[in-house]
Each structure stands twice: as structure tokens, then as C-alpha cells.
């Protein structure tokens, strides 16, 4: 009889019209790091919400055992009291409060409603030390980087005496070095007997850290494996239900003439200081190629493309030529007129109007195409949208569905559809596959190849080196606002890119 700290048996959870979880069984051994893998919509988050008490007992079928005892969580509090702590993808931190206040949010120590601040900050710095974090507990959350915020979440979980720590996509927003720090901390916690459930799309991390892995697909548990008995390709094929011969559909592209040239672009900090966010960047983009831009977070990649697109708040200087003609791009409307499109890195914040329909979102950047004299022709609107929905295989109940209700991959496809409808000559893709599942990633790569075949030039920013190496024809490496190196993909390796991205010369 194995020693399980957590067993979820025959969990079935239904939403109107969908079976999100279908008889899922999930067992976690005491003190292990257990990875949970699956495509978006496979049911990982739903399963964790059942565990976390978000869906109270009775709204699902099946049983949860912790240390062989049946648990009937009515709310999140009861689940936390049982030692379960879940860190969601979107942090539950109050930005204007400091680290200590956030760690003790909802359970401030003290008597008679008067907070014992000394104890709070003393205890907080103890937890921070435990995590090897060298920050002042009085620092406001908004002044911390994403990686440190993640660790504050971990500290918060520790302060609740978590026995089981669940991390939902912890590395989505972290840089490589921050991920390494997090991994180190998780290993330390493991030594101290904390059990960890690690949800991630990044299989490299899973194989780096996990002891066992459970794979979900379409709401069913496919299997649990010891990490040493399985490899990445096998996990992917179990997740998507088919063998992937290749993760990146590399195609030979023949680059045409230069469509866009950037000369001496300087971009200033929008806060009014004279510091440069982009320092003297010059590069060319050719018709029918994919130009990858690699670099660490904060290297200025997003600032580079948004400022070219006219959507960055800081001042800029330098010249941009499109088809050999000098152009002035001061606002996104100018960029669109000149045949540029930008799929931004945060689709929920910059790409979509979440509470509006697939149709509205798809046609947003090309409203003139569906209007006669400023009046919307709803039939043109419908036909255009349904064409892109078909072409990009967007899975949506209907065209009036709010994009809020779509999965991440399908939301990203709606953003793509919006830009494809503008018929761009040059398409900037900023982290086009962040937070979406393997199957949808592969579809997006195929769409990129198809666009290149049609003569579109693609500029892709990505923090995932395999993606940069797997898809780009040429690769630019940025560091601290400057372009440090350029490679043909055949000459590039992860090591070379990291060398320049970390500031090597």
C-alpha cells in the first residue's frame, strides 16, 4: 500500500453542456513533486479548483482523500485549513500593499483587531529568508518583478502551513534565471517535506523537476508515470492524443526583397527621463521570412515592436522604411495603414475585448472593411468573421460567443484573425504561443508558415528558445535595449543566443 498524501477518486465535474472532468483519478505521494500536464481545456484547472474548494462539495461527483481521510470542502478556507495552497496563474497580490501585508493578507496577526506589525514583518522576513529572497518586507508589490512576485506567493502559501502546494503555470511569465531560482526553491521545499503539484506547459521544466507526471486529456486521466520511465515526445503524444513527429513544422522559406527597414531607432522611457529603452536599433525584414527576436525579459523586445507600431508611450527617433519609402508612424492607425499588424504579448490586456463577441473582436482592426458609409453591414461582418473562424479553426459555439468563454488557444486565434483581416504585409507576433497548449501552438506555427508562403513577413518575439530556433529563418538577439547579434537559424544554438542575451560581446 503506497503512502498517498492526496487522492482524488473518480472526480466528475459537469458544466452546462460540457463534462469538464470525467471520472478523473489523481494520486499524489507524500513529499513528491508531481507534474500535471495536459492541453488547455484538458481539465487541469478545473481539477485544481475542485481540490481548492472553489467548486464546493456536492457540485462534483467523486471523493477527495487527504491522508486517507475524506474531505468535503465547502469553500476555499476549508481547503486551506486542510493544508492545500494553490498559486494561480494570475497572482492574488494587492499591488499597492507591501510584501508583509500581502503574505498575511486575510489573516493579519494581532489582538482585538489591532495588527501586530512587528510580528508580521518578523515572520515575513523569516519566510523570505527561507526562500533565499533578499528583499525588504516593506517593499510594495508593484515595485517587484514578476519573478519575485511569484516567490511572494510561495511565501504566502508557506505562511499558511501548506502541506500541498499547487503551482498553476508558474513559469509562464518568468525569465530563465527566475525559473531556475523557483526550481531551486521547490527542491528545497521538497526536502522539508512539502508536497508540490506543478502544472506546466513547459515540458523541459517538468522533466527537470518532477518525480512523477499525470497527464489529462479532454477531462480524462490518461495515466501517471515515473518521470524516468517516460520522455518528452511520449508526454506530448499522450497530451494531444497523437504522435507528434516534430514540434516545430520547419519549412524552407525563400526570403524576398526587403519590405521594412529600421534605421537608428531610439526609444525613450515614457516616464520622462532621458534613459533609452531602445538604443540605436537597425535591422531589415524581408518578404516571406520569419525573423525571430530572442532575449531575456526586459531586453526591450516588446518595446521595440510596439514603438515601431506606434503604440508605445515613450518618444522615439530614427527612420522606418516600408517598401523603400520612408514612413511616419505615430499611432497604431498609421501602422495599420502601412500594412503592419501586432499580436501583442498579453492578449487579454492588449488584444481582446473580453466581454464582447468573436465577431466584434475579429473585425475590430478593420471596421472600415465591413462598413458602407460608416454603417456596419452585419452580413459582411458575419461572412468575414466566419471565414476566419473556419480558416484558423477557431473552436467557438457561435460567432456571438464572448471571447471570454473561449480557451486560451482559441482566444489567441481570434487575435490572429483580427490581424489577418487587415491583410498585413508585416506581422509582429509578441510571444504568440504563451500560455496555450501544445496542439494550439502547433496550429499557430502552421498558420505562420502559411502566411510566409503568402508573402507576409513575420517578426516573432519569443522567450522560449526552442521556439525561436525551431521557427525563425533569422534570429536577432537583444540585450538591454540593443540588438547584440544576428544569426541564420542554421548557425544558432541555445548557448550562442544565451551568451549574447546575457550581455556577452
Amino acid at each position: 500500500m503506497e503512502q498517498y498524501i492526496l487522492e482524488m477518486k473518480n472526480i466528475t465535474k459537469e458544466f452546462p453542456g460540457v463534462k469538464a472532468l470525467d471520472n478523473v483519478t489523481f494520486s499524489v505521494r507524500k513529499g513528491e513533486i508531481h507534474a500535471l500536464c495536459g492541453e488547455n481545456g484538458a481539465g487541469k484547472s478545473t481539477l485544481m479548483k475542485v481540490l481548492g474548494g472553489v467548486y464546493p462539495y456536492g457540485t462534483y461527483k467523486g471523493d477527495i482523500y487527504i491522508d486517507n481521510e475524506v474531505m468535503k470542502f465547502q469553500n476555499v478556507k476549508q481547503s486551506e485549513n486542510a493544508g492545500i495552497s494553490i498559486i494561480y496563474q494570475e497572482f492574488a497580490l494587492v499591488k499597492e500593499l507591501d510584501v508583509g501585508e500581502n503574505v498575511y493578507l486575510g489573516k493579519l496577526p494581532g489582538k482585538a483587531g489591532i495588527v501586530d506589525w512587528d510580528m508580521l514583518y518578523y515572520e515575513t522576513s523569516k519566510f523570505l529568508k527561507e526562500l533565499g529572497m533578499d528583499i525588504n518586507p516593506h517593499t510594495k508589490i508593484k515595485d517587484l518583478g514578476v519573478g519575485q512576485q511569484q516567490l511572494v506567493e510561495v511565501a504566502k502559501a508557506l505562511s499558511k502551513n501548506a502541506k500541498i502546494l499547487v503551482l498553476d503555470e508558474p513559469s509562464a511569465a518568468l525569465t530563465e534565471s527566475e525559473v531556475q531560482t523557483l526550481m531551486g526553491i521547490l527542491r528545497e521545499l521538497k526536502k522539508k517535506g512539502v508536497t508540490c503539484i506543478y502544472i506546466s506547459h513547459k515540458l523541459g521544466e517538468v522533466f527537470d523537476i518532477a518525480d512523477r507526471v499525470t497527464i489529462l486529456r479532454d477531462g480524462k486521466s490518461i495515466g501517471t508515470f515515473d518521470i524516468k520511465d517516460i520522455n518528452e515526445d511520449k508526454v506530448i503524444s499522450l497530451m494531444v492524443g497523437r504522435e507528434l513527429t516534430e514540434r516545430f513544422p520547419r519549412e524552407e522559406h525563400t526570403a524576398g526583397e526587403v519590405v521594412m527597414e529600421v534605421r537608428g531607432l531610439n526609444v525613450y522611457d515614457p516616464e520622462g527621463t532621458d534613459s533609452l529603452v531602445i538604443n540605436n536599433a537597425s535591422f531589415q525584414i524581408r518578404k516571406g521570412e520569419i525573423l525571430g527576436i530572442a532575449g531575456l525579459m526586459g531586453a526591450g523586445r516588446t518595446e521595440l515592436v510596439t514603438s515601431i507600431f506606434g503604440g508605445y508611450a515613450g518618444k522615439k527617433s530614427g527612420e522606418i522604411f516600408i517598401d523603400g519609402r520612408k514612413v511616419e508612424i505615430n499611432k497604431p492607425a498609421d501602422a495599420i495603414k502601412n500594412g503592419l499588424g501586432l499580436v501583442s504579448e498579453d492578449r487579454k490586456r492588449y488584444g481582446l475585448i473580453l466581454q464582447q463577441s468573436v465577431t466584434t473582436n475579429t473585425t475590430l482592426a478593420s471596421i472600415d472593411k465591413i462598413c458602407d458609409w460608416g454603417v456596419i453591414n452585419s452580413n459582411k461582418e458575419y461572412l468575414n468573421t466566419s471565414n476566419y473562424v473556419k480558416e484558423l479553426r477557431i473552436k467557438t459555439p457561435n460567432l456571438r460567443t464572448k471571447v471570454n468563454n473561449l480557451s486560451g488557444g482559441n482566444q489567441q486565434k481570434v487575435v490572429l484573425a483580427k490581424w489577418l483581416m487587415t491583410k498585413p504585409k508585416i506581422l509582429f507576433l509578441d510571444e504568440p504561443t504563451r500560455g496555450i497548449d501544445v496542439g494550439a501552438k502547433f496550429e499557430i506555427y502552421n498558420i505562420m508558415n502559411e502566411l510566409v508562403r503568402q508573402g507576409v513577413a513575420i517578426v516573432m518575439i519569443s522567450s522560449e528558445l526552442p521556439e525561436i530556433l525551431g521557427m525563425s529563418d533569422r534570429i536577432l538577439v537583444m540585450c538591454e535595449g540593443s540588438i547584440k547579434a544576428e544569426f541564420n537559424y542554421r548557425d544558432a544554438t541555445q548557448e550562442k543566443i544565451m551568451y549574447y542575451a546575457t550581455g556577452g560581446h
Binding site: T245, E246, P249, E251, F309, G311, K331, P332, A333, A335, I336, L342, S344, R349, Y350, G351, L352, I353, L354, Q355, Q356, T360, L364, A365, I367, D368, C371, G374, V375, I376, S378, N379, K380, Y382, L383, S386, V389, K390, E391, L392, R393, I394, K395, T396, P397, N398, L399, R400, T401, K418, F442, N446, I447, N449, E450
Partner: protein, 393 residues
């Protein structure tokens, strides 16, 4: 592996049944709004022994609701764009005051007076819009400033005395009724227009090879609208005819609802309110549309000022006080989201009717005015609560 942008029909489930079910959902929301209204009407009818539902009172009620309705139309745009306009009551009052001065003291003609007033409202709207859109001052602050400033200007120019109108035409705008024959004529025109529109929409769908709803559905739709239109005109004709302000509200509703739902302008306003950053990055000129939204609000405040001053046949220094609150309440009862991006003009008008019905019914009952305020406040909270809890299901 299929590397083409393959056209697979299975992934697009644009089935008729699915569309219909989402329509029914939208209708349920309409029904809750209307049932709140009907509920209020039934209660007042019972308490007043039927007086509330008399043709005379319904005509008065419709006229009473007209000022709030005109303001609410503009307010829907402002709130949907993610802002607020607290100045509309003061602007309404100022427009009325200037109108009375121009017309009765300076002896301007009716047409020049009306043009001047509408220009005045529009310019004031542009002033607010400029500060909000181009100077990035929050709308709450800008229009709170406007609320104080323009009330102050009104007090200054009127010296706090009421100024009566001498033009029968301006008075007629607020007080008169459309002749009964003309009312019937309008009803016929409206019914014919409905028929044409419903069937034009059908043929357009046919042209683009889209699913066309069954004929009986279209006929049912036409019948329903016709009954509503004719019923309304008959009830109004049972008293003096349709009040002119109500005609104005109906025309403005048709125009601005069209702008909100069918034009590029409307689409952009909803987009800006829904997610300003995404709208900007999609090439929408947020500043320009924000300016225009406030111009619309100023324009409609001027119209409301003309109607109210005509109805009272005089401009007073406190005309339109608290009108901004009624307009905001009407929008919110009608389901407009205070965070922007969601809202509908017809629903806001139902909200305006709810507010006016409360005023009217409680006045019939001689309820003391402090009770009226307490009850209106409570109903506001309850109505929004009912709306939100039905939305969740």
C-alpha cells in the same frame, strides 16, 4: 501533418439553434427589465384605484419621462465609453436659461434661438470632452467641475429669478400634443417601415447566402411591433394625442440607437469602453471618439433643456437640478455597466420610465417628497440587484 490553413466545417458550429438560444437569453433579460416596470405599474394601479393607468396619466407620465430619457440616451454613450457625465443637469439648466434670455429678453426668433442653444450645449460637451480625451483629466472630475461651473453661470445670468418664455412655439415643444390624425398617420408609417425593414433584412441575408429565419417568425415580429405601435398611439389619442416631447424622444432613440448598434462610431465607442488599450492598438482613435461622446452628451443636454423649459414655459435657476442622477440611474437600471463596454439605449429608456413611474405614481398618492427620494433610492438598488442576479443565471 496538415500544414494548410485547412477549411474544416466541423469546428464552426454556427447552427441556427445555437444562435436562437443566445437570443432567447437576451430576451429573458429584456423581460426582467420590463417586468420590473410592469410590477411598479400594477402596484400603482391597484393603490390609485386605476387612476395611474388612465390615458391622461399615461400621457403625462410619458412626458415626464422625456427629459430624463433624452439625457439618458447621451449618458449611455458616455458610460459605455467608460466615463461619466455629472454636468448634464447643469448644462440643461444653463441652456434653458440662455434660451429664455435670448428669446424673451433679446427678442431672437425661434429658429436662431434653437440653433444657438444646441450650439451652446455642443460646445460645452466639447469642452468636457477636450479635458477628458486630450488632457487626461478623469471625467468624474471634469464634469463635476462642469456641474459647478455651469450652474454658477446660470445663477449669474438669471440673477436667480425665473424668466418666462413668450414664444408659443417654444412652449409647444414642451407642452403640445400631436394631432390625433397625425398620430394615426405616424403609426401607419411606422408599421410600414417595420415591415419593409424586416423583409429587407431577409433579402439581404439571402443575398449573402446566410440562414434566413422562417417566414412565420418575421410575420410574428411585424405583428408584435405593430400591436405595440398602434396600441401606444391609441392610448395617447384617448387623451390629447402623443405629446411632442415624446415624439422627440422616439426620434432621438431611433437615431441614436442606430448610431450605437449599426455604425462604426458606435462599435468604436463600445470597443473603447470594453478595453481602451486593445482598441487603441487596433487603430481606433480613442481620443477623438471620447471627444465625440461628450459632444453627444452636451447636444442632448441642450435638447433636454429646450424640452424642460418649454414644458415649464419658463427658465428657473434650479431647472435640471439632480437630473444627472436620474439619467445615470436610468442607465444603470437599464443594465449599463459602470465599468464601460456594456449598455443599451432602449434598456436605458425603460430605466427612465421606471424612474418617472415612481415619481408620477407617488405624486398621485401625495407621498411626501422625502419618501419619494427614499423609495427611488431603494428601487435603484433593488432593480440593479435583480438585473445582476438574473444575468448570472
Amino acid at each position: 501533418m496538415n500544414t494548410k490553413l485547412s477549411v474544416s466545417n466541423t469546428s464552426v458550429n454556427v447552427k441556427k439553434g445555437v444562435i436562437n438560444s443566445s437570443r432567447i437569453k437576451a430576451n429573458i433579460r429584456t423581460y426582467t427589465m420590463i417586468s420590473v416596470l410592469v410590477g411598479i405599474w400594477i402596484i400603482f394601479t391597484i393603490i390609485t384605484g386605476g387612476m395611474f393607468l388612465s390615458a391622461r396619466n399615461l400621457a403625462l407620465l410619458a412626458r415626464q419621462a422625456s427629459v430624463t430619457s433624452v439625457l439618458a440616451i447621451g449618458m449611455v454613450f458616455v458610460i459605455v465609453a467608460g466615463h461619466i457625465d455629472l454636468s448634464v443637469g447643469s448644462v440643461l439648466g444653463l441652456c434653458g436659461g440662455v434660451m429664455a434670455i435670448l428669446q424673451s429678453r433679446m427678442q431672437w426668433g425661434v429658429i436662431p434661438t434653437l440653433i444657438a442653444i444646441i450650439l451652446l450645449g455642443t460646445v460645452i460637451g466639447a469642452w468636457h470632452g477636450y479635458w477628458v480625451a486630450y488632457k487626461k483629466v478623469p471625467a468624474f472630475i471634469v464634469t463635476l467641475g462642469g456641474y459647478l461651473m455651469f450652474r454658477g453661470v446660470l445663477l449669474g445670468i438669471t440673477k436667480s429669478v425665473s424668466i418666462s418664455l413668450s414664444s408659443p412655439v417654444l412652449k409647444a415643444i414642451g407642452q403640445d400634443y400631436l394631432q390625433k390624425g397625425a398620430g394615426i398617420f405616424l403609426a401607419v408609417v411606422a408599421v410600414i417601415a417595420t415591415i419593409i425593414m424586416v423583409f429587407k433584412a431577409r433579402s439581404s441575408r439571402e443575398k449573402y447566402n446566410l440562414d434566413v429565419p422562417p417566414v412565420y417568425q418575421s410575420i410574428l415580429k411585424v405583428c408584435l411591433f405593430s400591436i405595440l405601435i398602434i396600441g401606444f398611439v391609441l392610448v395617447m389619442n384617448n387623451y390629447e394625442g402623443i405629446p411632442i416631447p415624446v415624439i422627440i424622444v422616439l426620434c432621438l432613440t431611433l437615431i441614436f440607437n442606430f448610431i450605437a448598434t449599426k455604425t462604426k462610431f458606435g462599435r468604436c465607442v463600445y470597443a473603447i469602453g470594453g478595453n481602451p488599450e486593445a482598441a487603441m492598438l487596433s487603430g481606433i482613435d480613442n481620443k477623438r471618439y471620447t471627444l465625440l461622446v461628450f459632444i453627444i452628451s452636451g447636444f442632448l443636454s441642450a435638447i433636454a433643456g429646450i424640452i424642460l423649459t418649454g414644458r415649464l414655459n419658463a427658465a428657473t435657476s434650479n431647472a435640471g437640478a439632480m437630473a444627472e442622477m436620474d439619467a445615470i440611474a436610468a442607465c444603470v437600471i437599464g443594465g449599463t455597466s459602470m465599468t464601460g463596454g456594456i449598455g443599451s439605449i432602449p434598456f436605458a429608456l425603460i430605466g427612465a420610465l421606471v424612474m418617472a413611474s415612481l415619481d408620477n405614481g407617488m405624486s398621485l398618492l401625495n407621498t411626501e417628497s422625502f419618501w419619494q427620494q427614499i423609495i427611488k433610492g431603494l428601487i435603484l438598488i433593488l432593480a440593479v440587484w435583480v438585473d445582476m442576479s438574473t444575468k448570472k443565471k
